[in-house]
Amino acid sequence: MALDLQLFGDKLKRYREQLQLSLGEVSQATGIGEAALAAFENGAGSPTGDDVLILADFYKCDYKFFLSNERWTAFEQTDTLFRRFGDEVSRQDRWAVLEVLFLADVEFYLQSTLGKAPPRSFTFQKIGGYFKAHGEQAAAALRTYLGYADHQVPLNIYQDFRALGMHVFRRRLDNSNISGVYVRHPVAGPCILVNYSEDVYRQRFTAAHEAAHAILDQDEDVIVSFTRANTDLREVRANTFASHYLMPPAFLQRIPDPGQWDSAKAMHWANALKVSTEALSIALSQAGLIDHETEQVIRTVRVPREAKEDPELPETLSPRARARKEELLKRGLSDYYVSLCFEAYRERLVSAARLAEMLLVDGDTELRELAELYGEVLQYGD
């Protein structure tokens, strides 16, 4: 099959522009000369197979994408995202989105290969045009689907959403105004990026908010959620879903003396529900349980950071392992994802070099350290 040089060049140029890179920067990182890169982009130069592999490695994409017209990557989605939200997504955050989509693609492949792909059997049919009701009903339906009683608090919502076939990654973003990103990957399906820079409880809310987009906005390819107030009906609906999923009204109504609140009580119930006091105050207000003045009192209370538990960084870990795993989480490498990668390696489905690529590791030493952290051994024998 002859390579369509014009199409190849167009993809290269669009990737570079998406990431706001100069030819010089790409040249420095890849070792391919600027003149050669410019010729490729103009459809005037023929790349070698190695050039294609190097560029695929640099742009974190499947090399087959460069050689065919099929939609193997989320390229069109990121193109839309960066065009629509251009100024608000920094260069670093564009890389972050690209890496997360790469991780989602790998996760989907490993789940499928290891026979662990979740069934994606939860669906919700929207009825009528009242957006908030969609959010309320979908949250209630999902809680029922996952077997949560009214009094039960979802502890590990990341696990909940992964069980629905969503690819959930928490990763530190440069722009603190972005709380999360939802992308529908053409191969992997719904992908959720939660900004790790946010507070642990806010991240829970964001994950639920982005999950709402996956469930209720299936006609959308990309949505960026910002921390600022938003009157967009889809955002209001996603917030309603997140609130009702994490704090069902039936639960809130069972809180003793629903009209009487002080700091200690606000802290206790925010921590019990694992939500911010701000989210709790809004939920109580919308359930008609508190007045405006009490809402203000509750939202000024702060749950101390050390009192908050992160289900993906359990207290049972040693301080060293916890610190190391937190560094991994900030890069998007959840315990679930890393364990899946090592399982594929143990099963000899992937090589150590591919394992390093999948874990965004760039040397033997780092890979060996990571293997040690997970109690794994790299295999070199017969």
């Binding site: 070698t48 190695d50 695929a56 490695d57 090399y63 000899r348 150590a352 070099a353 760039d362 024998g381």
Partner: protein, 200 residues
């Protein structure tokens, strides 16, 4: 199938890990070159070894890079380019999510040029064998064993090679030890006429 140290293809396309392991011991590498072994690599592997930006570089990494650059200046470890068609081979495409890009490129090039693919990773060996056949996939301990089998290394060289290798934090010590014993066993069998060695 267990590695047979009585046979070794002298023309090798090395992946990144194998390249570092071969270069980690000067004695092993020089003896291999004297025995007629030729190691080459693809342009992708050269990029991965020398150009690809890294978060951290250890002194051991720097030493290995220096050795590779020096060898390339001397005309060894030459790098070769793949064709686009090499990447479009069905078996290569099928393995693209199982192997690293360096391994994929090396296997594709070894296949086209009928050389051996040199790798030290167990899974890469297994997956590469499905593409180019088991006999065309070789390891650094295999090379070590073959040099012993050919009596190009002496008993006292073993510790030197292992010390040189481990001083650069490379991981093959137990496999060198194992292969040393296996090579002696094969040589004993060959000397006793249990089987005949056919040079390849």
């Amino acid at each position: 199938m267990a590695i047979d140290p009585s046979h070794f293809h002298t023309l090798n396309v090395a992946d990144t890990c194998a390249m570092w392991n071969v270069l980690s011991s000067k004695l092993l590498y020089q003896t291999a070159c004297s025995a007629g072994c030729v190691f080459s690599c693809t342009a992708f592997v050269a990029y991965e070894c020398l150009l690809k930006p890294r978060k951290e570089m250890s002194s051991e990494d720097e030493e290995l890079q220096t050795r590779l650059r020096r060898e390339q200046e001397n005309g060894r470890f030459q790098r070769y380019h793949l064709d686009i068609d090499d990447l479009l081979e069905v078996e290569i495409l099928e393995k693209r999510k199982n192997l690293g890009k360096g391994e994929l490129s090396s296997i594709a090039f070894a296949k086209r040029t009928q050389q051996a693919f040199h790798t030290d990773d167990t899974s890469a060996r297994k997956l590469a064998s499905q593409v180019i056949g088991e006999r065309h996939v070789q390891t650094t301990p295999h090379l070590f064993g073959w040099l012993y089998f050919r009596q190009l290394l002496g008993d006292s060289d073993k510790e030197t090679i292992i010390d040189e290798h481990t001083s650069l934090k490379r991981p093959l010590r137990p496999y060198f030890e194992e292969m040393y014993c296996r090579a002696l066993h094969y040589r004993l069998m060959a000397n006793s006429g249990a089987y005949r060695v056919i040079e390849t």
